[in-house]
């Protein structure tokens, strides 16, 4: 049992990364418009994030230094500050979106207006960050988030045409109603959603929170190899459910309430209950993950004392910065902006900021001063270089595609 709970960090990181509010909706949008023809992107993304998170987890375990400390040290103050600016801004957008996502999930459960749930959401998130132990937080959010497996269950209950689904996935083609530019825009968005930097910030800082050392390198690897593929599987299930129910009905997903309809059709109210609990846990976990990442990135760049393992008075600026982030998030949501729209943009911006975050980690993972003799092996470096090219390509293509397709509309 302890071994299973030891995987909680990886599972929670993956849930916050793969099935947060933005991904829940993006995966459903992709399924409802493109069927399963973009599943290969999820696969590429899962391998990439496994590679990236494993490297940063190993760096944190071997040297005790979390990712953003490494970024500042390798890139220097100016480039590091630019990276901080971009990463922090994206994090803040995501925090805003996740708080909105929690409120949307609560509205789905209760039909009480979404705006009324926002104060509840933000206070709950803050109390957990202020008070709850890291281990309890990751275990509870991670386990409850696994309820999203109900998407896979519902898919089986819907008795789809498996041959057709497999055909869409294995022989990808742009559907007639969509353009090539739209297809590639969503490919970049899905890739950015799978490889968001905050997953890496959270995973490596979490490794320090848990006190992982060189003897925990194996556990770091298991976390990565269990958590992220699981997240990818959940993503694909969501897309498949949408492809089976919503695509034939001519529904293009625009909001969270449409995402749960296939589950209700497959498994009725019981499945619906599970999926709402899962969505609530996933958005709550993502809100925790992104808020903590905002604190981690600032604290690690400026050298502040940080960590949930310290008393709040011993990490004062860390906690203050997170409180301010939550306040800003609520302020933005109070203007009535659509949280789903906010994440759809932040996911694309993540793809743009990715190279600056990835490169320092790759460099340090090869540095014997940090890693001792746990530096990257040759095959890992080869794979990492391939991914560097893919990441640069996605980063360069993101803005032009966004302009050409009008953000995928």
């Amino acid at each position: 049992m302890k071994k299973l709970l030891g995987l909680a960090l990886g599972v929670l990181t993956a849930i916050g990364g793969f099935v947060d509010i933005g991904d829940l909706v993006t995966n459903a949008v992709v399924g409802s418009r493109f069927g399963l023809s973009l599943v290969w992107v999820v696969l590429v993304g899962v391998v990439g994030i496994c590679l990236f998170a494993n490297m940063s987890g190993r760096v944190a375990a071997a040297s005790g230094r979390a990712t953003f400390e490494v970024i500042r040290e390798r890139l220097g103050a100016r480039a590091g500050l630019a990276n901080l600016g971009a990463s922090f801004f994206i994090n803040l957008m995501t925090v805003t979106a996740e708080l909105g996502g929690i409120a949307l999930a609560l509205q789905l459960a209760s039909s009480v207006q979404y705006l009324l749930w926002i104060p509840v959401a933000v206070v709950a998130v803050w109390i957990v960050i202020w008070r709850v132990r890291f281990a309890i937080m990751e275990n509870v959010a991670g386990l409850l988030g696994l309820c999203l497996v109900v998407f896979a269950v519902a898919l089986f209950l819907l008795k789809p045409d498996w041959a057709n689904l497999a055909g869409q996935a294995l022989a990808p083609a742009v559907p007639g109603s969509e353009t090539g530019a739209g297809y590639w825009y969503y490919a970049v968005a899905l890739f950015g959603a799978a490889m968001t930097p905050y997953e890496v910030f959270f995973f490596s800082s979490g490794a320090v929170e848990e006190g992982w050392s060189v003897k925990d390198l194996g556990q770091a690897r298991s976390n990565v190899l269990v958590g992220f593929p699981l997240g990818g599987l959940l993503s694909v299930s969501i897309a498949a459910c949408a492809a089976v129910v919503l695509l034939p009905a001519g529904v293009a997903v625009t909001s969270l309430s449409q995402v749960v309809l296939p589950v209700a059709e497959g498994g009725g109210k019981l499945a619906l209950a599970f999926v709402i609990v899962g969505i609530l846990a996933a958005t709550f976990g993502a809100a925790l993950e992104t808020t903590l990442s905002s604190g981690y990135t600032l604290a690690q760049f400026f050298g502040w004392s940080w960590g949930k393992f310290r008393r709040p008075v011993q990490a004062a600026r860390f906690h203050l910065s997170m409180i301010l982030c939550l306040v800003v998030g609520v302020g933005v949501l109070a203007t009535g902006v659509d949280p789903v729209l906010v994440t759809e943009y932040s996911v694309v911006f993540s793809a743009i900021a990715l190279p600056l975050t990835y490169l320092p980690v790759l460099i340090v993972a090869n540095d014997p001063q940090y890693m001792g003799h746990h530096v990257n092996k040759r095959p890992v470096n080869v794979l990492a270089m391939i991914y560097l090219v893919i990441i640069l390509a996605a980063s360069v293509a993101a803005i032009p595609l966004m302009i050409i397709t009008g953000a995928g509309s």
Binding site: L108, S111, V245, A249, V251, S255, S257, Q258, A264, L272
Partner: protein
């Protein structure tokens, strides 16, 4: 029932020529509204058969009303310069209004405690809106 008559007139005018920028906006608005109506029918159907809670159904229908309203605003903001495009815009607005009425009726049916309006009434209105949207999009596509 002036709806089909207006549609017929608009159809003739559309075939005679149409401003293309406005036409793209109209096509997209019609497509989005079609998706919203399909969602509303699905949600209504699932709720009637006891597979969807009324809270979730109400939320979904409320979201769809917002979607159709935003399509309607987009169409309203068009400034057509020819009589054909004015006719197209008016026809689209009429159909979109019908969609909103249908979805609102569905919401009332879900929330109602005394069985009125009936879910079947709402489904009938939504099905009619779906047919109108199909016709409209065919004509816009042909124009």
């Amino acid at each position: 029932m002036t709806g089909p008559c207006l549609l017929g007139l608009a159809g003739c005018l559309l075939l005679a020529g149409c401003g293309s920028g406005g036409q793209e906006t109209l096509s997209k608005a019609v497509k989005d509204a079609g998706s919203a109506v399909a969602t509303a029918r699905l949600a209504l159907d699932l709720e009637s058969s006891g597979q969807l809670t009324s809270a979730a159904a109400t939320t979904a229908l409320g979201d769809m009303v917002k979607d159709v309203n935003s399509s309607r605003t987009t169409v309203q903001d068009l400034s057509p310069d020819t009589p054909e495009s004015r006719g197209a815009r008016q026809a689209s607005l009429d159909v979109l209004n019908g969609c909103v009425t249908g979805i609102l009726t569905a919401q009332e049916a879900v929330d109602s405690t005394d069985g009125s309006p009936a879910a079947s009434d709402a489904e009938r209105m939504l099905a009619a809106s779906a047919r109108d949207l199909d016709e409209l999009s065919t004509r816009l596509g042909a124009g």
